[in-house]
């Protein structure tokens, strides 16, 4: 069994345990037990617990340890569709169930409870994702909206997605099991979060319209009714032309 395999197993186990418990409450013994390696292996391959943690957080970043992956959009996607894709991809990563689910959970833990070890890593990651989201919002928001307010809209979008995942056990205390299973899927949450935000921006009808009406509009199958400021923006564009 190659040493790369041992090192990888340690990293994977560490990622899972750090994601579940946090840096301090996670133990080297538990990690080694889960990886089925000797206790000393962590120090042999990584040096100490802190370096192991930093390496796990680096591995957790989308695009791996060298950079940030950014969603690409279908050719000719409207800004509304881009926003929907962004939200859907974020939710997919948050809710993924296969063996690398710990990656997003570890990043989420570093967002909600940062350690001092990964500040640069997290700043780089968060800024890149944030820049992408705000560039999508810039396509739909009136240019005269101040930047801080655009940022608050961006945080509201991310906050909803993260919260539905991070608080899922408490949400399970309020809702019955079938409601959470059926309504808190990636698809329904994508519809909900993007529908809510687009309605708030006047780019979709208010919540409370028929569900399939929303879905059709958001999927670009039928133009949503013009809301007031989009109409005003289009009229401004006509004047500028």
């Amino acid at each position: 069994m190659s040493s790369d395999d041992t090192r990888g197993r340690i990293l994977n186990a560490a990622g899972e345990v750090f994601a579940e418990r946090g840096f301090r409450a996670a133990t080297i013994r538990d990690i080694c037990h889960r990886a089925e390696v000797n206790l000393a292996s962590v120090n042999y391959y990584f040096g100490d617990k802190e370096r192991l943690y930093v390496e796990a957080v680096r591995m957790a970043h989308p695009g791996g340890p060298d950079g940030v992956s950014v969603e690409s959009f279908p050719e000719g996607a409207t800004p509304e569709q881009k926003l929907r894709v962004f939200i859907r991809e974020l939710l997919k990563r948050l809710f993924r169930a296969e063996s690398h689910a710990w990656k997003m959970r570890l990043l989420q833990r570093e967002i909600l409870e940062p350690t001092p070890f990964c500040t640069d890593l997290m700043r780089t990651y968060f800024r890149a994702k944030f820049a992408q989201l705000t560039s999508i919002l810039d396509e739909v928001l009136p240019p005269e909206m101040p930047e801080p307010r655009r940022h608050m809209i961006a945080f509201s979008i991310v906050g909803q997605c993260v919260y539905f995942r991070a608080a899922s056990r408490v949400i399970g205390m309020v809702l019955d099991e079938s409601e959470q299973r059926d309504y808190h899927t990636v698809d329904t949450l994508t519809d909900h979060v993007s529908g809510l935000v687009l309605a708030a921006l006047g780019l979709a009808p208010p919540l409370g319209q028929a569900t399939d009406d929303d879905s059709q509009a958001l999927r670009g199958e039928r133009e949503p009714k013009l809301a007031f400021h989009k109409k005003a923006r289009d009229e401004l564009k006509t004047v500028q032309e």
Copy 2:
């Protein structure tokens, strides 16, 4: 120095340390150091670490250990105003800075990372707050909207509030200090979250209108323009009368 005072100092210190670090990473020695009491005092007054934790979580609940406090609203408040008050009070508790700030942070930690010790407590608390929020939403949402979708709106509201607080250190990595200080106050976040949600529901103009226009409308100083489904609901009420 009375024993009540010693017991209270231990509880307060424990609340702070548990809120900062979580149950497992918090230590009895650190708690006793902060409370300036002997190490054995915890076992003398509370029995063990777990019972101390449960007691701290009980103390953290608004309304104290016996019940859940519920916001009261000004006489004749519209549903929109009630929603705004609910959001504001939630944000005030999340962002409070005085010595009992640990209470909401401990509850927030139990929401985002539940322990098995407080499941009944948290279920009771969360359900009570949730019931209040959904009863406000019931006043503004069309009666034909399915309950699961109302619940999702409620979680979106709470999620934004909790996220702005829980992720404040990471948000600080993206925004410059003055932007976060000036725009992420209880007042501005109340305007933002309630404005976004009410706009999404068609009960306020879309985001992107002039700021003071929003604030005036939301403070009840001037009627917001009727949105489509509120008008429909009022017409339905007329028919039913």
